[in-house]
Amino acid sequence: MNYRNISLFGIVFLLLVGVGFVQSWSVAFALVNLCLLSSVMALGVNIQWGYAGLFSVGTMGFVALGGLATVITSMPPVAEAWRAGGLSVMVALLVAVATIIAAVQMFKRMAPGRNRTLAMAGILVVGFILYRYLFDPAVEAIESVNSASTGYLGGLGLPILLSWVVGGLLAAGVAWVIGKIALGLRSDYLAIATLGIAEIIIAVIKNEDWLTRGVKNVNGIPRPTAYEVDLQVDPTFISWVDWLGMDLIEASSLYVKLSYAILFVIVLAIIMWMSEKALNSPWGRMMRAIRDNEEAAEAMGKDVTRRHLQVFVIGSAVCGIAGAMLTSLDGLLTPGTYQPLRFTFLIWVMVIVGGSGNNWGSVLGGFLIWFLWIEVEPIGLWLMDVITSGMAEDSGLRAHLLESAAHMRLITMGLILLLVLRFSPRGLIPEK
C-alpha cells in the first residue's frame, strides 16, 4: 500500500459520504452494500483473468447459481410438493446423470468406430426417454401444488448464511464441468462457451418452475439480519433511536443495511485475505508464470490445463458466493433481472479499470464502477435537463432525450473501458 492507492480509496470513500449528504444515508448504505458485492464478484473475475489470464464471460451464470443456492438452502421445504413428485424428480435427475456418465465411460472404453457411436447414441436415447418419462409427470404434479404461492419443491430450510457457502460450491461444481470441456482450447473458445453456459443457467432458472418458481419469483427468502418491522416495535431499539434523535423508520432501515454491510465486509475481508495469500504464495507465482508464458511454464513441468481448471473453479466459486449474498440482500430471487451487461461485462469493466492481477485494484474497481453505474443515471438526467433547457417544454426531442438519459450509463461504461484499455491498460492500481 502506498499513498497513491490510499488516496484512491479515500476518493471513493468521499464520493460515498457525499452521496450520504446530498441524497440520503439510506441511499449511501444501499450503494455501499452493492459496492461490496461488486468487489467480491470482481475478485472472482480477477482470480480468473488477473491471475491466470482466463477469459470467461460466464460470470452472470455463476452469480445466478449463487442466487439459486439461497432458495434451495434456506426456503422451507414444501412437503406436499415433495409428496407429489419430489422423489420422481430426484430419480429422474439421477437417471440423467447416470446416462451421461455411462455415455462418457462408453466413449472412453470402446475403440473408435461405428460400434462406439451406435452404443453411445443408444445409451443417450434410452436414457433421455427414461428421464423424460419420469421427469415430466413429476414436474407437472409439483407445479400444480398450490401454484399461486408455491408450486415448487422449496428448499432445505437451513440458515441463510449457509447458502453463501452452498452458492460457492454449486458454482464451483458447474464451473468444473464447463472447465473440463472448454479449457485447454483457444482462449476465445472459453469466452464463447462461458457466454453460452451463462445463458443456459439463466434459462434453467427461468423455466424450471419446480425448482425456482421461474418468473413467478421466490419471495421472502430468509434474512441473515433483523427485519425493519420487528425493529420498529422493539423497545430497546426504540429507546436507542430516541436517544440518537433519529426517525424510527429511517433508523430501522439504516440498521438493516448496516448489518448487511458488516456481514459483507467480513466475507470480503476473508476472500481478500485468502486471495492475497494465494497470490503471493508459490502457487500464485506459478499461476502468473503460466499466464505470462504458457509454453515456458509447460516446459517447466507445470500442468497448465489442470491449473487453469483449478483457478477457473475457484474464481467461479467466489462469483457464486457473491451471487448468494446478492439474493439474500434482495430477499427474493427474480430470474428476469439477470442481464449479461450488468452481471458479466460490468464486472469485467471493474476488473480492468481497477487493475487486473491486483486484488486491491479489483476492490477499488468494484466500488468505483458500481458508484458510477448508479450515479451516472441521475447525472445524465441532470445533464440532459441542462442541455435541453433551451428547448420548448413540449418538444418531442426533449422528451426523448430525457427519457433516454438512463442509457447514458452504458455509453459511459464503454467509454471508460476503452479509455482505460488504451491509455492505462494496467488499471488504477497496477499489478506489482
Binding site: 470441456i181 461485462f345 464503454g414 473501458l417
Partner: protein, 336 residues
C-alpha cells in the same frame, strides 16, 4: 399414414423458418468469420453492430414512410438499406480508426482487442437504446404473405396449410445474392484475393506489397453490408428489439466456430446447421408423428425434445460437440 400432410407440416414449421433463420445467422457469422480471419479477433460487438445497422435502416424507413415513398409489395426497408449500410460503414470505420487501429499498431494480443470490442459493445448498446429505445419496433410494411396457409389448403386440398411470408422469401433471396456477390468478390477480384492472402499469411501478404490498411478498410465495408442486411432481415422477419440482437451473438459465434472460424463457406454451413438444429430440437413433433404413425400408436405427448426457452442450449451443445470432436470446425478453419 399421411405422408403428404406430414411433409407439409414439417415444411411449414421447420424447413421454412429454419431456412430463414439460417440465412440470417449465416450472414451474421460471415461477418464474424471475416473479422476473425483478417483482423484476428472475436468481435463481441457484432450483435450490437447488427442492432445499430438495423436501427439506421428503421429510421430511414420511417422517414421514407412519412414521405409516402413505397415500393409496394416489397417492404420499404429494402429501399432504406443503402442508407443503413452507409451509416454502419461510417460507424465501423470510425471505431476502427479510434479503437482497433491502435491495437494493430502495437500488435496487441488478440484477447486485449476482444476486450476493446466489449467496450465498443457497451457503447453501441447504449447508443442504440439511446436513439431508438429498448423496446420492440415495427417497421415492416408491404405484402405480408406470398401465400397463406388458407390459400395453400384451398389450392392443394390438403388438411395442413403451408404459409410463406414475403419476409422469408426476401431473406433467403437476399442472403443468396449477397453470398454469391461476396464469393465472387473474394475469389475473382484483386482486392478479394489480397484479402484472402492476408488472412492466410499476413507476413507473406505484406511482403507481396499488399497494403494492410486497405485490406482492413475493405473488410469493414463488407462487414457493414453483411451486418446491416442481416440485422434488417432479422428485424423484418421477427421484430426489432436491441436485446435480441445481443443474444444473437451466441448462435452467430456458434455458427462461425461450427463451420470453422475464418472460413466463409464454413460460416454459411454453420449458420444453417445451427438454425436447423435449433428449430427442430425445439419443435413438437406430435402432429408429424400423428400423420406418419398408425392411429393406435400416435403419441399423446408433445414429442418436443427441448422447450423453446432452451434454444440457446442447442447452439451451445453443438459448439461443445464441435470443440470436443473437431476443434477446427466442419470446414477446417484457421489453425487453432
Amino acid at each position: 399414414m399421411d405422408i403428404l400432410n406430414a411433409i407439409v407440416v414439417l415444411a411449414n414449421y421447420i424447413f421454412v423458418p429454419a431456412m430463414t433463420y439460417g440465412s440470417q445467422l449465416a450472414l451474421g457469422a460471415l461477418g464474424i468469420t471475416l473479422i476473425y480471419g483478417i483482423l484476428r479477433f472475436s468481435n463481441f460487438a457484432h450483435g450490437d453492430t447488427m442492432a445499430f445497422g438495423a436501427m439506421a435502416v428503421i429510421l430511414a424507413t420511417w422517414w421514407m414512410q412519412s414521405l409516402g415513398v413505397s415500393i409496394h409489395p416489397l417492404p420499404t426497408a429494402l429501399l432504406a438499406l443503402p442508407f443503413g449500410i452507409a451509416v454502419t460503414a461510417l460507424l465501423l470505420l470510425a471505431t476502427d480508426r479510434v479503437v482497433y487501429r491502435f491495437y494493430r499498431r502495437v500488435k496487441a494480443v488478440p484477447i486485449i482487442v476482444v476486450m476493446a470490442s466489449i467496450g465498443v459493445m457497451f457503447v453501441l448498446n447504449g447508443v442504440v437504446r439511446f436513439i431508438i429505445g429498448p423496446n420492440d419496433q415495427n417497421f415492416a410494411d408491404g405484402a405480408r404473405f406470398i401465400f397463406t396457409a388458407g390459400d395453400f389448403k384451398r389450392a392443394t386440398g390438403l388438411d395442413e396449410g403451408l404459409a410463406l411470408r414475403s419476409s422469408q422469401v426476401i431473406t433467403v433471396l437476399a442472403a443468396v445474392a449477397l453470398v454469391a456477390a461476396l464469393f465472387w468478390f473474394l475469389n475473382r477480384t484483386r482486392t478479394g484475393k489480397s484479402m484472402r492472402a492476408f488472412s492466410d499469411n499476413e507476413d507473406l501478404a505484406l511482403l507481396s506489397g499488399i497494403n494492410p490498411e486497405r485490406v482492413v478498410t475493405v473488410t469493414w465495408l463488407i462487414v457493414a453490408i453483411l451486418v446491416t442486411v442481416a440485422g434488417t432481415l432479422y428485424g423484418l422477419d421477427k421484430s426489432f428489439k436491441p436485446f435480441t440482437y445481443f443474444q444473437l451473438l451466441l448462435p452467430m459465434f456458434a455458427a462461425a466456430i461450427v463451420g470453422g472460424l475464418g472460413n466463409p463457406l464454413g460460416a454459411i454451413a454453420g449458420g444453417f446447421v445451427i438454425a436447423f438444429s435449433e428449430v427442430s430440437v425445439t419443435y413438437a413433433f406430435k402432429k408429424v408423428l400423428g400423420y406418419l404413425m398408425p392411429e393406435n400408436l400416435a403419441p399423446d405427448t408433445l414429442v418436443q425434445l427441448l422447450s423453446t426457452e432452451y434454444k440457446f442450449a442447442v447452439s451451445f451443445a453443438l459448439l461443445v460437440l464441435v470443440l470436443l470432436f473437431r476443434p477446427t470446425g466442419i470446414f477446417r478453419g484457421q489453425s487453432l
